[in-house]
Symmetry: C2
Subunit: 238 residues, 2 copies
């Protein structure tokens, strides 16, 4: 039996700062690849509404511009490469099927950038959703392998696109689990999550532990079916 | 991009009853294999304090009896086989290393019983915890494979043994994700979780989606290190 606390007692360096001392990210430009899909649109809307400068990317610049116009709040649209090149932080919200190919093509544009992977590799059959296991371990680890010059993190996996896009919903009641290897990058992503009312970014480990966070969406789908809900997560005692 | 709601819209039979309509489990005898370890002791203590009849099992009946006496609240101790034979519901809280061997040896005693697997297969190195991937997919699926005549469920993965065992703590602030194939069995386990003040059982899918629930403990360990917490989960909108 492994319990969360039993293992936490021993190792681990104490961070110099408090984990709640996060950087000011209000001046950062956020790009959203796959920004015309429901999750991408919803995230772009929430971040822009919170005052962030947001560009949504798509294969088609025209489609991105049209979606951006609908979102309002100063959101711009562009093709994926321009979006990646112009943004400081790039959220990857594309379908798993096109994930590797898109990232490999944008390696140059994404060099030096904070990349936030929020892709959930899932399969579906008549019993519902189940986890796919990427060869690299997870979508986030695939991104890290394809983008060695980027600062790859993983976050925003468990959001309901329905709630994100619903303009009647003022607060998004969820903790965003943020994973990554580099403290400054995960701090930045946590701070971005904190910009959205109701949302909170919580550091939740290294990329090698991203698979279970990504595939937990399969469980949330089961919760949603059983309870007719738009389920999210909160971390207690933090 | 898969979002929890996008996939939940289409399929799934509507349950006949409300998911909150759970059976009365107050008369069931609960056995805890590995009941002398911190997680097992803590669960036994909480359930017995809530009025459940509890037997803790161990390889050594003497050690089990001694631990039971310390727990009070009518907890009994026995060897693992007697515990399995006497209980209606059997919680498996042993270390992953001995999991398969123990269950294979108790196949007869566990036939027809509801088995609740709460084992988290994890590895540890200097960077912390990481998920192990059992050949069967998860500890719960290994249990199901070894116990074809039992009603195998998975639950109670994310509990802090420190909080469970702390007699100053009155409420355990956590949602227990309950997985399984059979509605009557998962309903029973949810109802058991609900007996413990603060705790709530939430159905969260089939056993094929147990791996990510089990290995999410690695992420909670990272949360606990960063925030000096005893982190747990809550499901929002349910």
């Amino acid at each position: 039996m492994s319990t969360p606390d039993a293992a936490s007692a021993g190792a681990g360096a104490t961070p110099a700062r408090t984990p709640f001392d996060l950087p000011d990210v209000s001046g950062l430009v956020v790009g959203v690849l796959g920004g015309t899909g429901p999750q991408g649109r919803g995230l772009a809307y929430r971040l822009a509404k919170s005052g962030q400068q947001v560009i949504i990317g798509s294969r088609s610049a025209e489609r991105a511009a049209a979606a951006a116009a609908e979102l309002g709040h100063g959101v711009e649209g562009a093709d994926n490469a321009s979006t990646a090149a112009r943004a400081d932080v790039v959220i990857v919200a594309v379908p798993w099927e096109g994930h590797g190919e898109l990232l490999a093509a944008l390696r140059t544009e994404l060099a030096g950038k904070i990349v936030v992977d929020c892709v959930n590799p899932l399969g579906f059959d008549k019993q519902g959703a189940y986890a796919l296991k990427p060869e690299e371990g997870s979508a986030a680890q695939q991104a890290a392998a394809l983008l060695p010059e980027s600062r790859v993190t993983a976050a925003f996996h468990h959001l309901s696109a329905v709630l994100l896009e619903d303009r009647e919903v003022e607060e998004i009641d969820i903790d965003v689990l943020v994973l990554g290897e580099e403290r400054a990058a995960t701090d930045t992503v946590q701070a971005l999550a904190n910009r959205i009312p109701g949302m909170r970014g919580v550091f939740a480990g290294r990329l090698r532990n991203a698979h279970q966070v990504e595939s937990l969406v399969a469980n949330l789908i089961s919760v949603n079916r059983r309870y007719k809900a738009h389920a999210g997560l909160r971390i207690t005692d933090v």
